[in-house]
């Protein structure tokens, strides 16, 4: 106690100094070794080459897990047979694509060669349009609410985000238990004197609930993005509008919405891509039924490539190629719009 009180202020014990200098020496040694190695490498391959060198690990992972499978998918789309090995498959040209898109009347799937695919495409298109529009409306409304100074704002932000953390299978099964014939909702309806409703066995109800559930389970994510966008709008603009006597409606249409557009665009593109890829939550919730009312493109691919005992990898790959093309178009449109937006 006495000794420490005698110690000059700011002085570091010598033992600690030794340890620090030891680690500094090791660190310096590593840095020098790396520097020597990289200097030589840079002399050898040049500055541009170094850029490729640093990108290489990521590029390797990307090639093995994304680029390679994409290329394989492309090749499989032009082959037929049951074998999983490419060398054992027969080249059939555009036969799979022809099969997918041979139709007397695209508005009547029953006239199509691969009617289930056309139904899946139609269902997906309707789902994407409905889900994305309502997703934007609901997420924006929620973000606007959560942006206000309300009591328990932090709590409500967590509540709205919580479903995003749930596994899609859990979400699907949970809602199935709520909505099935002997589910909680029907029990409540019966106990109130009503009659059971076939939420899962009526096409229109099933389609509606699929949209509701997918919005419920993902809106927290988009709300968060929109909330960040709302908070980046300068408050001075609202103050100026207040001075000019603008009401809430005018402020929303004149300030909030225009300044939120770049964020909205991101939300629209992300939610559209996600909507096109919808599968897991619907698979657990309706299984694609009733009939094929909630049967979407990824479900078609899954059935043909994996679930069915008679594996039709060619058809599944053809459908994947179609879906990838649609998503690429969406992404290009987004890039183009962002470019226009940034330049303006």
């Amino acid at each position: 106690m006495e000794r420490s009180s005698e110690k000059p202020i700011g002085q570091v014990p010598s033992s600690r100094l030794t340890i620090r200098s030891f680690f500094e020496a090791i660190f310096q040694f590593i840095i020098d070794a790396v520097d020597t190695l990289f200097s030589r490498l840079q002399t050898l391959i040049g500055i541009k080459g170094m850029a490729y060198f640093f990108v290489l690990p990521n590029l390797l992972i990307f090639s093995v897990f994304i680029l390679g499978p994409m290329l394989l998918n492309f090749l499989y789309a032009f082959t037929g047979g049951n074998s999983i090995f490419l060398q054992n498959r027969t080249f059939v040209g555009a036969e799979n694509m022809e099969m997918l898109f041979t139709c007397s009347n695209f508005m009547d799937p029953n006239t199509c060669r691969e009617d289930l695919f056309i139904r899946a495409v139609g269902n997906t298109a309707i789902f994407v349009v409905t889900q994305v529009v309502w997703m934007i409306v609901v997420s924006l409304f929620t973000a606007l609410l959560l942006n206000r100074r309300i009591a328990g704002r932090g709590f409500f932000r967590s509540v709205f985000f919580y479903p995003v953390l749930l596994s899609p299978i859990v979400v699907g099964l949970m809602w199935r238990w709520i909505l099935q014939e002997n589910g909680i909702l029907n029990s409540a309806i019966v106990s109130l004197g009503g009659e059971k409703i076939g939420f899962l066995s009526t096409a229109s109800w099933a389609r509606l609930w699929v949209v509701v559930i997918s919005i419920w389970s993902t809106m927290g994510f988009y709300t968060l993005i929109l909330l960040a966008g709302l908070q980046s709008i300068p408050l001075e603009l609202y103050e100026a509008a207040d001075i000019d006597g603008a009401n809430e409606y005018r402020k929303f249409w004149g300030i909030t919405l225009p300044l939120l557009m770049p964020t909205m665009l991101v939300v629209v593109v992300l939610s559209t891509i996600r909507a096109v890829q919808v599968f897991d939550v619907v698979f657990a919730f309706t299984g694609g039924g009733p009939g094929t009312a909630t049967f979407y493109i990824v479900h078609y691919i899954f059935n043909n490539g994996f679930a069915s005992a008679t594996k039709e990898f060619g058809l599944a790959s053809g459908a994947s190629l179609f879906m990838a093309s649609v998503l690429i178009i969406f992404t290009l449109v987004q890039l183009r719009l962002r470019g226009v937006d940034e330049s303006s």
Partner: protein, 430 residues
């Protein structure tokens, strides 16, 4: 003296340690991929413990997997060369390129060849080996209706028996439903497999003379489809069962929860009902209802198959395991403990003692045994045709589409036939 003893002991120890790798090298480890509806894999594990005690050079690692794994993943695993040595499968023809022909390794091929129905044994074979012995069914299943006898008693309606038609049954079931207030008269799993038996009873002919599927325009099939749609539309049957697309939905919960008077399924439900229903109510298996095509369910079931390892010693070990499981007394014990109908004539001869003291279970298994005896030929073929699974998949989807108004009645059989032909054309490309 003590030093010498210590030295000898050390020497022996070193020699024994040296021997361990040699012993390990002589042991052949086999992999058995198994799925179970009830206790099949657990029973195999017990039986194989005895086998391993008798055959110390063979170790069988039994892995229990979900049925989905057998359908979805096993075909890919087998094709890439990482498959098991033995597997419990349902799609016998699906692996025919990879099976082991056990004949050269078997002590007594007749044990397999003479004890089983020729149709399932042929289903294991590939076209280039028409006499091969690759596996055997370890359980025969048959489809037939389960009826809640207590509800019939409460309603004062007499239970129908052999020869009663579908119309008579539905009439009786409706009376019981109305009298007791349960939700449904009749439920059936949403599978084309379950649907096949009643369709055959209504006169459906699934195959042409060459044994190929020929369903387009079949009247018997359409008749039962129309009858079932009518029952679903009028609330006699549970439409939610058929509302899950092509995802399997067993309607057994409606039966267990006393929401339906009749449940059409198969013998694999017996063990489950014995446990879940207990003595809550009396249930019986009744003969398949009759129609213009007679009275038949369809067969099904699982079997174990041997896969070619490419190594003689390993193939001999695989065959030894299969031959052990083929012994009539071993097979009979498996059937008795798992409450499965045996497919083995030798096991039937020595008699199967079902491991149950529940008279309802014993009676149900007896009735299912009787149903197997009167199955039509096409009832066997529908389960073991090389494109059976194409039919199952297509019929599940097309029937569901018809029931929910997406396609017309005449498009059901045409659609199923077209889907099967697509699968055949795809296989031809291999």
């Amino acid at each position: 003296m003590n030093k010498r003893i210590t030295f000898i002991a050390m020497l022996l120890l070193v020699m024994m340690i040296g021997l361990v790798p040699t012993l390990a090298q002589d042991t052949i480890e086999l992999n058995f991929t198994c799925y179970q509806d009830g206790t099949e894999c657990d029973t195999y594990a017990d039986l194989l413990d005895t086998f391993m005690e008798e055959n110390p050079g063979i170790v069988v690692n039994l892995e229990t997997v979900p049925y989905q794994f057998i359908i979805e993943s096993l075909p890919v695993i087998v094709e890439v060369g990482d498959g098991p040595d033995i597997a419990r499968v349902t799609d016998y023809p699906g692996f025919s390129d990879f099976y082991l022909d056990m004949r050269p390794y078997m002590e007594d091929p007749a044990l397999l060849e003479d004890n089983f129905n020729a149709v399932p044994l042929a289903a294991f074979r590939s076209a280039d080996n028409p006499d091969g012995l690759h596996g055997f069914p370890d359980a025969v299943t048959a489809t037939a209706p389960f009826v809640n006898a207590t509800l019939f008693e409460q309603a004062g309606v007499e239970l129908l028996g052999e020869g009663a038609t579908w119309e008579e049954w539905i009439d009786a079931l409706t009376q019981v439903r109305d009298a007791t207030g349960v939700d449904y008269a009749f439920t059936i799993d949403n599978r084309g497999h379950r649907f096949a038996g009643p369709a055959m009873s209504m006169g459906a002919n699934f195959f042409d003379e060459e044994g190929n599927f020929a369903l387009a325009g079949d009247e018997g099939f359409s008749t039962f489809a129309e009858m079932l749609k009518n029952w679903l539309d009028t609330g006699l049957s549970a439409s939610e069962t058929w509302a899950t697309g092509d995802t399997y939905t067993a309607a057994n919960e409606f039966f267990i929860n006393v929401q339906t008077v009749m449940y059409f399924s198969g013998s694999w439900q017996v063990g489950g009902f014995a446990n879940t229903i207990g003595d809550a109510f009396d249930w019986v298996v009744v003969p398949n209802p009759t129609g213009p095509g007679g009275s038949t369910g369809v067969v099904g079931g699982a079997g174990i198959a041997a896969f070619d390892s490419g190594d003689d010693a390993r193939n001999a070990a695989i065959t030894a395991v299969m031959e052990y499981l083929l012994q009539p007394e071993v097979y009979a014990e498996f059937s008795g403990r798992t409450l499965n109908l045996p497919a083995h004539a030798g096991a039937l001869e020595i008699g199967v003692e079902y491991d149950t003291d529940n008279p309802l279970v014993a009676s149900a298994l007896t009735q299912f045994g009787a149903e197997v005896g009167k199955l039509q030929d096409q009832a066997w073929m529908v389960a073991f045709n090389p494109f059976s699974f194409a039919y199952f998949s297509a019929s599940n989807t097309r029937l569901a589409q018809y029931f929910f108004g997406e396609i017309d009645l005449e498009d059901v059989t045409v659609g199923i036939q077209s889907d099967i032909e697509d699968a055949m054309a795809n296989a031809d490309n291999s």
